[in-house]
Symmetry: C2
């Protein structure tokens, strides 16, 4: 049966960032096969409008649905922030974004009830984290800031040294963590690569929350509830699809996945 228990997990992102989420899924659900799509011909999403990001997200989802997938993980904060309702409407399988799991994880971590969120301009402007955090804990105080340079820094591999430290000081100063904010949500899948420098800048009293693990946990719950999990060890398949030529994805992606990628296939998406 297509899209049943033996089908794979579909995961998409604008590029390599979502591989940090894929890694968490592979760790949490080692019996599940995965198909990952990185829309490298249109990356990044974080500086584009909600309208354009929704259009690209639907094209990604339809391409993955051609594969036999039983659930779709939107491993991109910007796409999760703006396109989740449209994706849920169009797909007859569970769709899981990274924002609600991240917000719920932050609500569990905070002791002071004051949380800061950093992300792309698109994610922050959408207000999706602010809304999800208020649902998770209505009395929560939420501060936000867009940090557009963190994505190119992570992609360039400049994750240590003076440049990322100065950039982090500039973004994370001036009021973002004032009062007794004790939790900082890394609201972009690229940011975990910068977590050492971010932690050094914000100091030990602030706990960083990365939604990758929380998202993998939520996926496991959804599969179990719907009786869709693979129960017996069978050979897992790992497919990687990209919309630009694969060379750069394979090179940069290995840093994000924490292991070499087995290869990637280039596909065309027909989008306006």
């Amino acid at each position: 049966m297509r899209h049943g228990r033996h089908a794979a997990i579909g995961v998409f992102d604008s590029g390599v960032g979502g591989l940090t989420v894929l890694k968490a899924i592979m760790d949490r659900l080692p019996l599940e096969s995965t198909v990952y799509l990185g829309d490298t011909a249109r990356v990044p999403y974080g500086t584009k409008s909600g309208e354009v990001v929704t259009r690209y997200s639907l094209a990604n989802a339809h391409a993955l649905f051609e594969y036999d997938i039983k659930a779709l993980v939107v491993a991109c904060n910007t796409a999760s922030a703006v396109a989740l309702p449209a994706l849920e409407r169009e797909l007859p399988i569970p769709v899981i974004g990274v924002i609600i799991p991240g917000a719920e994880a932050a609500a569990k971590v905070t002791r002071t009830g004051k949380v800061a969120v950093i992300g792309t301009p698109g994610t922050i402007a959408s207000g999706a984290y602010q809304a999800a955090l208020k649902v998770a804990a209505p009395s929560m105080e939420v501060h936000t800031r867009a940090c557009p340079l963190f994505v190119p820094l992570a992609e360039e591999g400049w994750t240590e040294g003076d440049v990322p430290r100065l950039v982090a000081e500039k973004y994370l100063g001036a009021g973002l963590l004032d009062g007794d904010v004790d939790t900082l949500v890394l609201g972009c899948t690229h940011y975990p690569l910068l977590s050492s420098i971010i932690q050094a800048v914000v100091g030990p009293r602030v706990t960083l929350v990365d939604s990758a693990i929380a998202t993998a946990e939520r996926l496991a719950t959804v599969l179990r509830e719907r009786d869709l999990e693979r129960l017996e060890p069978t050979p897992v398949e790992r497919h990687y699809l990209v919309t630009d030529t694969p060379a750069r994805f394979l090179e940069v992606g290995a840093r994000f996945l924490g292991q070499p990628l087995s290869g990637a296939r280039q596909i065309d998406l027909h989008v306006k």
Copy 2:
């Protein structure tokens, strides 16, 4: 007559960067109307493959050709580096890129015959500047370096202070200007916004070359040779087209054009 003397100049770029070229064209050819297309739904081009950039460039060119244009200026170094032959093949009007004018300007400026070029990964990997400089002066010694963070810095408006200075020191050190290199080509239309900091880092013995003025000059020559220039003052039209919603383009674009933009219209391009 369509595409004749009274038609406009078409100009495209991946986003806002090409507005530095448009500005030079407006200064040099004040009688000419212009139609500018920024492919903001797919920006940036500089980290994408030649294959994808060529596909996007052809879509841009066809959209502009629907307007009555008599010449096309490719105001993007990456697109000029990889897509010029395909554009010249498909369009029955003159197509002018920024690389040959920039290379010719550098060949005129250098006294030592040693020139450095900085640009996006796509531009540098293409070898287009290296080839154009060798044509302009066969004995030229050419050094190159990709500087991927300069584009997001310019778009973020971080053009002064510690962060861009440190980034510039990192990119422009270590051998790029060794020996007696006396000329540095800004091989990306975003880089003129960073020229103060770049000049401060490379010191006064190195002359910066920005291809915008040279490109406008070449356009003027081509129009004159083909008897296509407007000779009498008639009201000029300025059209701006974008592929994402216009808000960010208008905001960031004003910095690049050096004056407010009159408004921009969103269009769809049907590309794979």
